[in-house]
Symmetry: C2
Subunit: 406 residues, 2 copies
């Protein structure tokens, strides 16, 4: 039996494909610190669970396709705190940010069309695109420049007649980069001049450090008819398992188009929506605490990485990821080595090779992504193990090279 | 700003597009009996809610992409009662049956490919196909024959080089038809001879009446490498709002392909999966009761319909729908008339025009779908109102016609 080309061509998750090595290490009694996945350990606000537990109907009925009115209201109020103002028919609730991105791409691209995406990017952007025959058209950003955007000319040179939009995450996964107001305005100009949509994945909106000011694409009046804001409760409220995302756009026509896709899948789970109403009512003091926690973790991990000769990375200012260029040839080989051949007092660390976050062949082979989602003590330990492992691995490769020379 | 052709071309839900007329009737103080939607009133088994309420982690984490092991186990056990035996890597949990169908179509069809579907069909089959550029290739079934399948020759004549599979629901939505063992075997033979997949949407498996024996496509050994079984808790356990569906196939290669799509959207909601573990443990006595309840409802509705001159429909033997051919020219006009211009003691009935369940232009214009999802008393009332309305409408059209003649 034959499978479709579009799905056959998809890569398996680069984040998950090395999991067997971790399982094997664990089976040998080794403790593995996971810096490879974006599953936070922060508590989910209790309001979510309380609302779910208070559900008292006998029948778990379909919800409306666009999302329950209470959740849309709750989201409208949340956006207001960022000076974004959406009518209720400008918001759709989705099955996670994932469905929000998939549906938006479907609604703006036909097969063969492409989307400009700064790389390294969230790897599933590629997957969503491939399964609906849309091409990711990458613009490369670099560790040395803290993964900030290249010049307007460089970006514009990638645009062709099949380009329908620009998709980017801000703060960035996997880079942790927060775009400046100038970068946001530049993207806005490019979009206007080339009649492109902007899909702004802002699921890490709250995770901005060092007092940096944050500009949402939803704050730029001139582009409001072409901006689609993607959100999710997953990282924001440490509620990854709720799978509640959303699409917001002042372009009511686009929302009406996407609503047809929402009607096709009938609805998003009723209980998860009821719980999420409460999440979006969480007081902003929650973010201050969480933010401070992540900021400390970032510093721990970054400072330790910087102690290793040859590691290149600017201190990221958002989300909870670091992409670092390592003094190694093949980061995947290093990641596997850490799990297979290294441990310190029976403990080791798992990180994620970054090659899967690029679509340009060969890029990112010497880079890794680290997620700082452990508590400070564990993270300190993990960072020190990683540092030691990396130094040893670099040493080992050098000695292998010189013995090959001999 | 431009939208994609694929989504622009999608029709709005034919089930939902007449809702404004119902809302208007209600605003005029008229009670509307809804026979237009498949939202059952049966109680969701309590185990679901109890399991959800007993969840006691502080963090609502991602679940694994293929589905939590407990739910897969629970589903395996359920299938065993139907003499179907799936390994754990032959099952994937999905966001409703909807995602199960969308992902399966993606994994077997590239843009321009087509899928054989008996019409009338579940309208979203069309929507799922359109948004991924797959064509529905309809084989027409008829009210006069109880919507049973046409001959092997007629079906085979529709197959071309771009045909990748046959998608059908059994028992059927919207027809309520249960395919015979002979029909299942015929489809199996056609699939083997033409190297096609069979996507068997069996979400109404339990709703079979009159002691009829039911054959699942999962019970035919010869085709097990090409059969994909779609299931869902929605109708089975009256848990439509849980959005828990599944894909099962002995073709492990296909499951591995679809798993990539599952990884892309990360996971299905954790709590809904935990609840659904209990649903699939519901004792079969539950189905006996529910089944008997639906059987009685079907009889009430069918008997009342049969009292109207010119109504054509065979008594359906499954699911909870009836498609009936009415003695009218335009069923949508009749449905709107019932909401706008008719009431009996301030009560009226909403049904669903069936044209949207066909992809062949012009078919189904004189047909409606009725869902018997109300309790017996309400249904009896609704059926009698519908009968009276229909008779009056037919009378009215006749008199309009003769006055036009005059």
């Amino acid at each position: 039996m034959k499978y479709s080309q579009r799905v056959s061509a998809m890569q398996s998750s680069p984040i998950r494909k090395l999991v067997p090595y971790a399982l094997d290490a664990k089976s040998r009694g080794i403790k593995v610190y996971h810096l490879n996945i974006g599953q936070p350990d922060i508590k989910t606000p209790k309001g979510f669970f309380e609302a779910v537990k208070n559900f008292d109907s006998n029948v778990l009925e379909y919800a409306v396709s666009n999302g329950i009115p209470e959740l849309i209201k709750s989201l409208q109020d949340y956006y207001t705190t960022y000076d974004m103002h959406f009518d209720k028919d400008e918001i759709l609730i989705t099955n996670g940010g994932s469905e929000a991105i998939l549906f938006t791409l479907m609604a703006i691209c036909d097969p063969g069309d492409n989307i400009i995406v700064p790389e390294p990017f969230y790897t599933n952007y590629n997957g969503f695109s491939q399964c609906i025959n849309v091409e990711v058209n990458p613009i490369t950003t670099k560790a040395e420049r803290g993964f900030h955007l290249p010049s307007k000319e460089e970006i514009t040179s990638r645009i062709n007649s099949k380009t329908k939009g620009i998709l980017l995450s801000n703060p960035g996964n996997p880079t942790g980069t927060v775009y400046t107001k100038e970068e946001i305005d530049m993207i806005g100009k490019i979009a206007i001049e080339n009649n492109l949509w902007i899909i702004a994945d802002e699921v890490y909106r709250e995770f901005v450090y060092d007092g940096l000011s944050y500009t949402s694409f939803g704050n730029v009046k001139e582009i409001e008819d072409r901006v689609v804001i993607i959100d999710s409760v997953s990282k924001r409220y440490s509620a990854c398992g709720a799978r509640i995302g959303s699409i917001a756009s002042k372009n009511k026509g686009l929302i009406a188009q996407i609503l047809k896709l929402c009607q096709g899948r009938l609805c998003v789970p009723t209980l998860e929506q009821i719980g999420s109403v409460e999440l979006y009512k969480t007081p902003t003091s929650y973010f201050k605490e969480v933010n401070e926690e992540y900021r400390r973790r970032r510093d721990v991990l970054y400072n330790e990485l910087m102690k290793v000769d040859g590691v290149v990375c600017k201190k990221p200012t958002g989300a909870f990821y670091i992409v670092a260029k390592l003094p190694v040839e093949n980061a995947e080989d290093f990641v596997i080595w850490m799990l297979k051949d290294f441990n310190k007092d029976n403990e080791t660390v798992m990180v994620c090779p970054a090659e899967g976050f690029y679509s340009t062949e060969g890029l990112g082979r010497d880079e890794i992504r680290l997620a700082y989602i452990l508590n400070e003590d564990d993270l300190l330990k993990a960072a020190s193990i990683l540092k030691e492992g990396l130094e040893k691995y670099v040493e080992l490769k050098k000695s292998q090279l010189s013995s090959a020379d001999a």
